[in-house]
């Protein structure tokens, strides 16, 4: 094989792109990160994908196409994360390949990373072959180091994000925390490749955010977010739902993050599944792929943790999530927790979306009030 200069491009997902970027930079490659989802990428993706394909596929296709189009003189390795399972997520890369080739692009190859799937005697060698194809030949410790650094960056970014959404409804000057956060993301992105340095930056930035004037309180309405991973984890796909809710004065929590998603899927898969089956008993006790089962489980767990409402975010026509949606109506009745299902597609308008969120938040606030009044009347009677 001729030694071509290879450039990597990875799916952009939330703020974690910084981690993927550093992973490939440590291995000594160029990386081009696609721009955040915008009307251009969506238009590009939608016009070339099958009509009823999932929305994440269309977004990613659009992102990759834009990258390939803008850099015709580079040779790309397009990284695609996949799983083998009953959801369409597992068939992304062959379609990327076919559609991009059909469009006339030749300066790319697709590298898909997928888990080990049966039969094992074929699956394990295939997994390692793909890994080598992904990283190229490197000393194993370089790859391990890159993994560790990328992992730490993901962790740091998630901690910062958590802090941000905790502080926004409590800050004294609206928007001040976000400014600090944006600077912090940049700092983490360009942090030197040492665990110690990342830790230090993280602690400094967390302290800076903490010192931003705010009022600590715990009587805010609480909303949990469940749904499909890619829509949920990428802020540009879900129209910044978390930030919007936070600015409406809601304590918001997202059930899926890159760290717990990977842990649950890869390392703690067995115990995670057993836990899920236990919680979901009577609702959905069968593996349907995607994040459908997680959505149901997390809704129940949120109720148990005292949350006031749950929002399910899903791409339009997502196979597991539509199944989950129908079951969630029953869960919502049985557990007495309001659930709002939002389907995202290329036509989601921002104004209508905000109105729906506002209505949901208002409803939750009045429900809280009613509950408190009830409590008071009970104590008076006693």
């Amino acid at each position: 094989m001729s030694r071509k200069k290879i450039t990597y491009t990875v799916p952009r997902m939330g703020y974690t792109y910084a981690a993927f970027e550093s992973f490939f930079k440590i291995l000594g490659y160029d990386v081009i990160i696609p721009e955040p989802t915008n009307t251009e990428t969506i238009k590009e993706g939608v016009s070339n994908s099958p009509e009823y394909m999932c929305f994440p596929f269309k977004i990613l296709l659009g992102q990759f196409e834009r990258v390939l189009e803008k850099n015709p003189d580079r040779y790309f390795k397009v990284v695609s994360l996949e799983s083998y399972g009953p959801c369409r997520f597992g068939y992304y890369s062959p379609l990327y390949y076919k559609i991009l080739r059909d469009k006339g692009f030749t300066n790319f190859e697709i590298v898909n990373i997928e888990g080990i799937y049966p039969p094992l005697y074929k699956g394990i060698p295939r997994f390692f072959k793909k890994l080598v194809k992904l990283t190229g030949w490197h000393a194993p410790w370089t790859v391990v180091k890159a993994f560790v650094i990328a992992g730490w960056k993901v962790y740091a970014l998630e901690q910062l994000e958590k802090k941000l959404y905790h502080l926004i409804p409590r800050e004294k000057v609206t928007g001040s925390t976000e400014k600090i956060f944006n600077a912090a993301v940049e700092r983490i992105r360009h942090a030197p490749n040492k665990v110690k340095a990342i830790k230090k930056i993280l602690n400094e930035e967390l302290e800076k955010m903490e010192n931003n004037p705010h009022v600590e309180r715990d009587d805010l309405p609480k909303i949990g977010l469940v749904g499909e991973a890619y829509i949920l984890m990428d802020y540009s796909n879900n129209l910044d739902i978390e930030k919007k809710l936070a600015y409406m004065g809601v304590d918001v929590d997202r059930s899926l993050r890159v760290t717990n998603w990977t842990l649950d899927r890869l390392i703690k898969a067995k115990s995670h599944k057993a836990h899920m089956l236990e919680v979901n008993k009577g609702y959905l006790d069968f593996f349907i792929g995607g994040d459908g089962q997680e959505s149901i489980m997390n809704t129940i767990l949120y109720k148990k943790a005292g949350y006031d409402g749950v929002i399910q975010a899903q791409p339009f026509g997502c196979l597991p999530e539509t199944a989950a949606k129908e079951i969630l109506t029953k869960v919502s009745e049985d557990y007495d927790i309001p659930v709002l299902s939002l389907a995202f597609d290329e036509q989601t308008g921002e104004a209508g979306f905000v109105t729906r969120l506002e209505a949901f938040v208002d409803m939750i606030k009045s429900r809280r009030q009613m509950k408190e009044e009830k409590k008071e009347s009970v104590t008076v009677e006693n």
């Binding site: 399972g85 009953p86 062959p94 379609l95 049966p118 609702y283 349907i288 199944a323």
Partner: protein
């Protein structure tokens, strides 16, 4: 006991097995009526709005049966039809969907998880589970299972010899006779690619099969093919799809695109069916390379009959022109209705 069997989804694949099983146990079977407007309305009002039309129709059939005087409605969970291949998530969650859609009747839904075509053992286990729920003696259940598998094998044979599944449902009592009956060969043959429940549900797909047959075009479907004949298309697809039926539709469609005695391919899918979007794209790209006409029909609860008839006529004209027969002559181009079915001779 009286057992209701919804005439939707996997009915169009495994009805012979269920017929053999339940009739051998001596239970009375009640099939829901073929899909009509009433059933679709029932289904639409009992399901969430963005689920695919096939599952909506299934809701309608189940509700129809629950309203009738049956003890159980049979909703099997077909989890996997081939090793390492699964069914669509919505179908894998079907019994759970039914239980949450019809909460008050949840106890009347008879279900078991089937792993078909992975040998007989998982089928036997699933039927044992059903036997337990119905309270039938084990010995009898075993015999009935054998009977069910026998019927299914006969039906597969009938399919391979070119009979549609609708013929099989009609002649369920004398399948052996049906296998021997030859299939008439027509001048034009169109292949229907798609999931059996989309291809055979004559109301939701606007009766494509009779429209074609009445116009003098023979049809073949992808479920008539033995999976062995299209195995080699995995290479073109890079990676197998995870759903047995989608694989059958995609690879079967490609097989028909390549076979010289098929004039065109019509793929039928239901609105918002996520899986068909993949195989339709694959068929599109493949037909572009080979150069055979492929038409996609996507049906929903609002499909109008006239528009579909026009599209099929245009497709037939296209096939005729490709064969060098020219367009349909003016005197043959008369439109009439026989039992409400649009007829035009070729």
């Amino acid at each position: 006991m009286k057992i209701g069997i919804p005439r939707a989804l996997y009915f169009y694949v495994y009805y012979p097995m269920w017929y053999g099983f339940f009739s051998s146990l001596g239970h009375e079977m009640k099939l829901s009526i073929p899909t009509n407007k009433e059933i679709i309305n029932l289904g639409v009002s009992h399901s969430v709005d963005d689920i695919c039309i096939s599952v909506k129709v299934f809701h309608g059939h189940v509700k129809y049966l629950l309203n009738k005087d049956v003890d159980f409605v049979f909703v099997p969970r077909i989890a996997s039809e081939e090793k390492y291949k699964y069914t669509c998530p919505k179908l894998a969650a079907l019994p759970d969907l039914m239980k949450s859609a019809f909460v008050s009747d949840a106890g009347r839904i008879l279900t078991a998880t089937f792993y078909t075509r992975q040998g007989d053992k998982p089928i036997i286990e699933a039927f044992e589970e059903i036997g337990r729920q119905l309270g039938d003696p084990e010995e009898k259940v075993k015999r009935a299972t054998k009977e069910g598998i026998k019927y299914q094998n006969l039906a597969t044979k009938a399919l391979r010899s070119g009979h549609t599944f609708l013929d099989i449902v009609k002649n369920i009592k004398n399948l052996e006779e049906l296998i021997k009956r030859p299939v008439e060969k027509k001048r034009y043959t169109v292949a229907l690619a798609g999931f059996p429940y989309d291809v055979y549900d004559t109301f939701t797909n606007g009766d494509v099969i009779s429209k074609l047959e009445d116009s003098g075009v023979g049809i073949v479907t992808t479920d008539m093919l033995d999976p062995k004949v299209y195995k080699h298309y995995s290479k073109y697809m890079i990676k197998d799809l995870f759903w047995y039926q989608a694989n059958a539709a995609a690879k079967g469609g490609m097989y028909y695109i390549d076979s010289p005695d098929i004039d065109g391919i019509i793929s039928i899918s239901s609105f918002n069916c996520g899986i068909s979007s993949i195989y339709q794209k694959l068929l599109d790209l493949y037909s572009k390379e080979i150069g055979k006409p492929v038409m996609h029909i996507i049906v929903d609860e609002q499909t109008g009959d006239a528009g579909l008839a026009t599209r099929i006529e245009a497709f037939i004209d296209l096939i005729r022109v490709k064969r060098g027969d020219g367009l349909v002559s003016q005197e043959n181009n008369l439109h009439g209705t026989e039992n409400g079915v649009h007829v035009r001779s070729v």
